[in-house]
Symmetry: C2
Subunit: 168 residues, 2 copies
Amino acid sequence: MEYQEGKEKFIQAFGTLGSKWGINRTMAQVHALLLISPGPLCADDIMSELSISRGNANMNLRALIDWGLIYKELKAGERKEFFVAEKDMWKVVRQIMLQRKKRELAPIMEVLSELNEQVQGEGEEVEVLKKSVADMHNFGQSADKAIEKVVNSDENWLFNTFLKMLMK
Amino acid sequence: MEYQEGKEKFIQAFGTLGSKWGINRTMAQVHALLLISPGPLCADDIMSELSISRGNANMNLRALIDWGLIYKELKAGERKEFFVAEKDMWKVVRQIMLQRKKRELAPIMEVLSELNEQVQGEGEEVEVLKKSVADMHNFGQSADKAIEKVVNSDENWLFNTFLKMLMK
DNA sequence: TCTCTCTTTCAATTGTACCTGAAAGTTGTG
DNA sequence: CACAACTTTCAGGTACAATTGAAAGAGAGA
């Protein structure tokens, strides 16, 4: 397979994956493009590689910076901004886990806490609702803790060892 | 808070959560509704509770059965089909992990394997592409193994212990 | 200050996944 | 078989998110 074809397949696959996980297809593609670029790229590079508009490129680059997945880089003597991706896969995954926890786990946990405390009434249907809420709240807390531990495992020899075992 | 309000908030929150994770909003809402229903519901119950059409209800009920998250139940003397949700939170999460692994991890792993084996050529850009592909393939395999282990942890005392520790 | 280059914004457009409802299909019963 | 009770399908419509492109903004150097 030629380089160009491989590159396109990679970017394409990444975009599809992203969209199945609730992440903007283009954002995922920009990320993929930067991941396989040996050097920094500027907005125009990305626009022409992915055939997208200036506005779209700009929006998704900002979003990726916001997620902590790419960095802005300034070249001496150039006005243009360049971008590079974090290429350490473990850091990438860690960053994604943290961001999604913050953006999507946290809000629902708040709703669950509220329901946990405030739903009144009696009867079977109320009990079933309360139990569901409590179970999910519980599970969410466990998940939160597990994510924190995994994300910070570098600092913890014991968990690091267990994690490696888990993945073998 | 009254029961009805709590119920609506629960269903609403679940729907939002689902859509942020690439799961059909309505499917998540139907699931939520069944989770907090003391008894089985039929298609008409769901249509009126969620104000959705017959076709929509049918589609999403089939999908939920397909995911292994709800079951069909027949009542003696009734033609209608009734539905109940699996309410054990751990089984629910397990099922979702397995299904998503099958549906979304597997396809991209195939692309990565293909690229891993078939990308030809030399030069820095080819090397960077190859490295990205290899890293991701690696990570994907680890994730796959970790999911398998977590999902089957009931049978494995050591990992069960570890998991509990991870979540405390 | 003016101009040139690059970045950001946003109203209008486009794209896409989802939903509807009616019609066709299925199945049990008299 | 004919009917009634439900389920499934799907062509067309809707709603929402993503995208465009042009205009406004921002900053550096002459």
